[in-house]
């Protein structure tokens, strides 16, 4: 009676867990897997559901997954009755807001999981708002109550204030010890509404995740809204109209289990043998080819890159390997886009589009780790729309494409940002946002100690060093979330960096007019320390068009000779010379100036160190 394809929707509860990184979502999920008996003690391993190594190492979940768990209620009105719980895991980071929203759309309820020692964080808050927008029933849960530093009463007040419930409505659990978890499962059954759909209507299922697997091709995770999908059906993707044979259909529990069908309210997976997640996109609606639904489910949108960066192999001969690696990653990442690009300074590479900084860094790290590539990435930039006085318009994803003619207006992307901070740091946060051209949109005290600040900020200001600054000005206490909210006109200029009179495309940047001077001075100074002295004096200039705004000089090297070279020194000196010649081959030539790879890497590294901090 609870088999896939034959489960009464009234017996189904679909929920997700909204939590900040480190607030214990994976550990709580582990306990649920054990309590419901879908994973035995013997099979249990920590963070069972996090598949990729990178995820497990960083303690974050990038790809969601759905687990079907049987549960017989232990106490209360449904005691002794059996239900099917579908736990839909959600990605936990700002770059994946859209994926989160689709996961939420597959649920009727959400557990708002908050660390009882830390309280709610901005990202959790943002996802909570998303859940509320999706009309999800929220169950507030305080986790880690076993910790000595836990302050469940204090944070229960805060949560109650946020979602408008009583502090006593907040459940208290410990994912680590398992305390309170069974009660939480009972409460999910009691509180979360059962899914509602039309079993007789043409089938409509929402794709909330799509994962490429080398052995099985693309595995698509769906929530059936109306009708029924059967294993022998031919299915159709409503956004493209493409039809596919179903090879397999089933549920995850937590390993894949084949099934004959999926009915209203059920969550499961489909396999069609397609090799590219672009053919099975998150947010799209699956229907039956022969009896298609008329209208797709709402809310679909194409993933749109927000941040661009050039990726170049340090060893130019790795270019084909980089292309192959990107082709492979693309199979599993509908949001990754790239096209070949040539830089005078860095050689052949790819201009890649990402959902955000974390996305960029995950891709970069996977390229380096899984494909053994050494890469240089250029400073990330956003997408600008440039209107010319003659009425033409350019979309600029690379500063070197910035048009040189008469410009009428430049538009830059802006985001709606939420900052949660202890109230002591409100001034510091406002100062930072002000300096980053932010417009204050609202401010709320969540409690006497904690404040929510809402700003509209240029995305370009956020991808440059913002998070780092926020953390350092608030002793690490503030948290940040943001989502794109359109474009605004801005007074921007392109700053070029010239080495010995030659512009270095990799260092060009589009910055606000008021900050151009600072950027120019900083970059010139940094390069001065990074580029070794040459046989001639090398001027480093920062310029807007033909106007030089900053200048540094690398003094000419005056001595490059070993004092002694007698009989015993000859072999050693020849080896040294051979080594220096090898080193010279790894230099990039900018005109006559030899620039070591390391200088490019270091000069372009600043924003990257920020993302590194971000994941901690």
């Amino acid at each position: 009676m609870l088999d896939p394809g034959a489960t009464d929707p009234a017996r189904i509860r679909n929920f997700c867990i909204i939590a900040h990184i480190d607030h214990g979502k994976s550990t709580l999920a582990d306990r649920m897997l054990q309590l419901t008996g879908v994973v035995s003690e013997r099979e249990m391993r920590d963070q069972y559901l996090d598949r990729m190594d990178i995820e497990r190492e960083r303690g974050i979940t990038i790809k969601s997954q759905a687990v079907r768990m049987p549960w017989t209620v232990q106490q209360g009105e449904h005691a002794g009755e059996s239900f099917v719980l579908n736990m839909i895991d959600t990605p936990g980071h700002v770059d994946f807001t859209y994926e989160v929203s689709r996961s939420l759309a597959a649920c009727e309820g959400a557990i708002l999981l908050v660390d009882a020692a830390q309280g709610i964080e901005a990202q959790t808050l943002a996802n909570l708002y998303l859940a509320l927008e999706n009309d999800l029933h929220i169950i507030p849960v305080l986790n880690k109550i076993d910790l000595p530093a836990a302050q469940p009463d204090k944070y229960a007040e805060e949560l109650a204030h946020l979602i408008g419930c009583e502090p006593s409505d907040c459940l208290r659990v410990s994912g680590k010890t398992g305390e309170g978890v069974a009660h939480l499962l009972d409460e999910i059954v009691r509180q979360v509404p059962a899914p509602v759909g039309d079993a007789d209507a043409p089938a409509r299922a929402l794709i909330f995740d799509s994962v490429y697997d080398v052995y099985r091709g693309v595995v698509t995770y769906v929530r059936v809204v109306d009708g029924r999908i059967e294993a022998r059906n031919r299915i159709r993707m409503m956004s493209t109209g493409a039809a596919h044979e179903l090879l397999e259909l089933g549920v995850i529990s937590p390993e894949p289990v084949k099934a004959g069908a999926l009915g209203v309210g059920e969550v499961g997976y489909l396999m069609t043998g397609v090799k590219d997640v672009r053919q099975s996109k998150v947010g799209d609606t699956v229907t039956i080819h022969d009896q298609p639904a008329k209208e797709p489910l709402g809310g679909y949108r194409d993933p749109k890159p927000m941040v661009y960066s050039g990726l170049y192999p340090i060893d130019g001969s790795d270019y084909p390997a980089l292309r192959d690696a990107l082709d492979k990653l693309k199979l599993n990442d509908a949001a990754l886009s790239y096209e070949p690009e040539t830089s005078a300074a860095l050689g052949f590479g790819f201009r890649c589009g990402f959902l955000g900084l974390l996305h960029l860094e995950i891709i970069r790290e996977r390229l380096e780790r899984e494909f053994n590539l050494d890469l240089i990435s250029t400073a990330p930039n956003v997408v600008y729309r440039v209107q010319m006085e003659d009425g033409t318009e350019h979309v600029v994803t690379n500063p070197s494409e910035f048009p040189s003619g008469k410009i009428s207006t430049i538009y830059e992307p802006v985001v709606r940002a939420t900052v949660l901070t202890p109230s002591d740091y409100v001034g510091a946060v406002m100062e930072l946002c002000q300096a980053r051209r932010g417009q204050l949109k609202g401010m709320d005290y969540l409690s006497p100690e904690r404040v929510e600040l809402r700003y509209v900020l240029p995305l370009a200001e956020i991808i440059f060093d913002f998070f780092d600054q926020l953390k350092s000005r608030t002793k690490g206490y503030a948290s940040l979330d943001y989502e794109p909210t359109g474009q605004q006109p801005a007074d921007l200029v392109k700053v070029d960096i010239l080495l010995n009179g030659e512009p270095v495309d990799a260092f060009s940047a589009i910055v606000h007019k008021d900050k151009a001077y600072n950027y120019g001075v900083q970059m010139a100074q940094r390069l001065k320390t990074l580029i070794p002295r040459q046989q001639f004096e090398v001027p480093i200039q920062a310029a807007i068009g033909s106007r030089v705004i900053a200048r540094e000089n690398i003094r000419a090297m005056r001595k490059d000779v070993l004092a002694k070279c007698y009989g015993g020194d000859i072999t050693r000196k020849r080896k040294l010379l051979e080594k220096q010649k090898e080193g010279k081959k790894r230099m990039k030539m900018v005109g006559r100036v030899e620039v070591p790879q390391e200088a490019f890497i270091a000069a372009l590294a600043t924003s990257e160190t920020d993302t590194k901090n971000k994941k901690r």
């Binding site: 005056r558 001595k559 070993l562 004092a563 007698y566 015993g568 010279k584």
Partner: protein, 400 residues
Amino acid sequence: MGEPVPPDGALPAAARASVGARGFGVYVHVPFCLTRCGYCDFNTYTATELGGGVSRDSYTDLVLAELALARRVLDGAVPRVATVFVGGGTPTLLATDDLARIIDGIDAAFGLEPDAEITTEANPESVDADSLRRLRNAGFTRISLGMQSAAAHVLAVLDRRHTPGRAPQAALWAREAGFAHVNLDVIYGTPGETDEDWLHTLEVVTGAGVDHVSAYALIVEEGTRLAARIRRGELPEPDDDVAADRYLLAERVLTEAGLSWYEVSNWAASQEARCRHNLLYWTGGDWWGVGPGAHSHIGGVRWWNVKHPAEYGRRLAAGRSPGQGREILTDTERRTEEVMLRLRLADGLPVTVLDPAGQAAGERAVADGLLEATAWRAGRAVLTLRGRLLADAVVRSLLP
């Protein structure tokens, strides 16, 4: 590093066949010092560092044993010896009679040319008028004194034990003893040395009436006490720009005193005053290096002896070559060395040694003022004064 040396020290036939084509010399290493100087990474040992089994008294016998081995390896087909250089360490820690036995041993093994140049290094404090006379009588024709500086505080940083006036005094005694050729070794750029200190040193050098000067920028070698003191911040790190200025000062003062450069770090009063032994190194000549850690070159084969005197002694006692490793140079390596070494000489490098790309790079170096334009047009690559300071960069640009 390198390949092993055969136990009997045998050389490839091709190397033996060409020996002496560009001159033949003998280097004798004397690995003893009374104390170790803070900047020195040479293969030398104080009595306490030496351990058992080797002594200064028995060392001469080891040298003679290696000379006998050299003669066996070269199988009698040896040109006469044009130059001998006894270096160290501190050669004058050996008794003059022992140094005389070594010269006689070389003569017996290979035959010394009648006008052979026979040099020994000496520390100023280890010689006096009498010992210098005896060295001259033993057959030495040239003496090289490790003066380093005329500033007491610089000598102190270098751990040198002589007083500032001792080196010019020793040079005077040497000339009185009949040495036609006397060299003073000086070092610039020592931490704490000022421009004035260096100028004063140069004036003392030129006032000493010697016909040869070697002036080196201080090199802070890894693993020396000096390197450790700099790392700990006790002494400032030598600065390349300062070294460049001091080099220019040396060039000016020495030239005005009638000494001209003939190698990047060497100046001589005349053609005859140039050190023929060192020129052998720089022009692809052959030499046998005797002693622990000594390097040799015969016909495109470079090898080096084991470093520790005790192991060196054990091998020779067992009738085996003390060679630790060797490399047989490829044609490319030989050409690299030729460019690397000859470009440092005032006589320069024949342009024809360079490949077309190297010649194009040479043209650019002329345009950049690093190579002499007139010499280049006459078919030789000769460094300008600025080029001398950037010699390694020029070498890199000339080679493929």
